[in-house]
Symmetry: D2
Subunit: 142 residues, 4 copies
């Protein structure tokens, strides 16, 4: 079941051509990730401190399928996929909401949990693993 | 009646000391302004184009009374005051929401409407003036 | 011959973990692109207006190989590759400068020129094509 | 003697009207502050850690006198004034460089040094005090 996040593109989010700056599509994606985590009671900064780990992004991919302008409303749909016990991928669909919905971007970020001291890979705590599962793709019926 | 806007401080909003970067308090204030306008059906970019005007900010003042960290929830309270027919001031209170509420900043921005071509002062259209009134200080009982 | 751009990571560029926010690696890359273009006398905003075209980014890929913190100095190396007469790719190497140099990220952005009205693909003007060539990979000796 | 900092306004720095977003004038000012400190061997993040203090901004004031667009070159002139041994003000002039120079903004930030644990006011270390002096107003000849 993917989780969703909505927000309005703001006056400061655009670039010199008047469109959402390409890097800000990824800012929106990270906001969706943070919002979904917060919904599960996980705030990244505290979580990192309490669990003595970091979850850096290792890789990003995005495709831009349409523009967004300030005042536009966008929905970000996030789907998580665990990769073993210490890594995961997040897939995002960015949808322009309006009279009709239009897919304006897709993105994926790959994350790996590491120990804050040793920087070695480290298993994700149970609450984070539970969030990953809850934000995973819907189970297909048998 | 002031209008309010809430949002969570995000992972990217903080500075090297871990606190909301000072300029981002003002970004929050402008978000509150945009959100309140949108609630009245006014989107700045389209509004500027349709009315051939700009409303630059002429002056900013802010006082910082407390920190905000990522994951913190803030409410911005906006109160508008018209200054003649072509200028206005916006006052903001930034409140950290939590077990108790704490005022962490106050700010004010001064705006003047100008013609997009001549850059001369220009009266604000009726719908904007109506928004200013609706976001104004509550009338005091007689 | 790749073109290079250097700048210091700033206090506002980091995230809640204290490291350069992942989307800001891409902001750095775009800065390197803009700086290199400016060196060739091309400023994107004016260029778009004068040539009635846009050059949206269609795709982004990035790999993160190491962290950057505020105060760190980074060099971005950009190499351009034309794809026909209306598209190009930019490859970036992000290097942390210090006692020793360390590659902390690689990225690639894919761009396509389109007509500002029809949104159809449109050939890049000669000065831009010349810049692409100048920022291309060094010719290998025979 | 004021210290100066220059940089080009970038494609991502502008707002939906195509001009440097008002909060980004203050970002430029803070960049000038950081750059000047770095020139004196002081990097804020390390400095805060090593000296167990923070130097939050308590107050900001800015006046906007003209627009800046992407591609424009700006110079920020910073002048520091110590206020006792634990506080200081920074005044900024933001100048648009071009065929002629034009003052497009002035700003002032007020800073107070506090202990990172107690949050009580704390005297600035000698190297910071020396920087303040070096960035102070030029002595007038008798």
């Amino acid at each position: 079941m993917s989780t969703t996040y909505e927000r309005t593109i703001r006056f400061a989010d655009v670039d010199g051509a008047g469109f959402l700056f390409f890097a800000n599509y990824l800012v929106l994606c990270h906001e969706a990730y943070e919002a979904s985590l917060l919904g599960a009671g996980i705030e990244l900064r505290k979580f990192f401190g309490e669990n003595r780990l970091l979850i850096p992004i290792m890789k990003v991919q995005a495709q831009y399928l349409g523009p967004l302008q300030s005042g536009d409303r966008a929905r970000i749909e996030l789907t998580a996929t665990a990769v073993g016990d210490n890594a995961f991928g997040l897939s995002y669909r960015i949808v322009h909401l309006g009279a009709t919905e239009k897919l304006v971007g897709i993105a994926r970020t790959d994350h790996t949990a590491i120990d804050i001291q040793t920087l070695e890979r480290k298993a994700l705590p149970a609450n984070f693993a539970a969030w990953l599962k809850s934000a995973g793709p819907a189970a297909t019926a048998p």
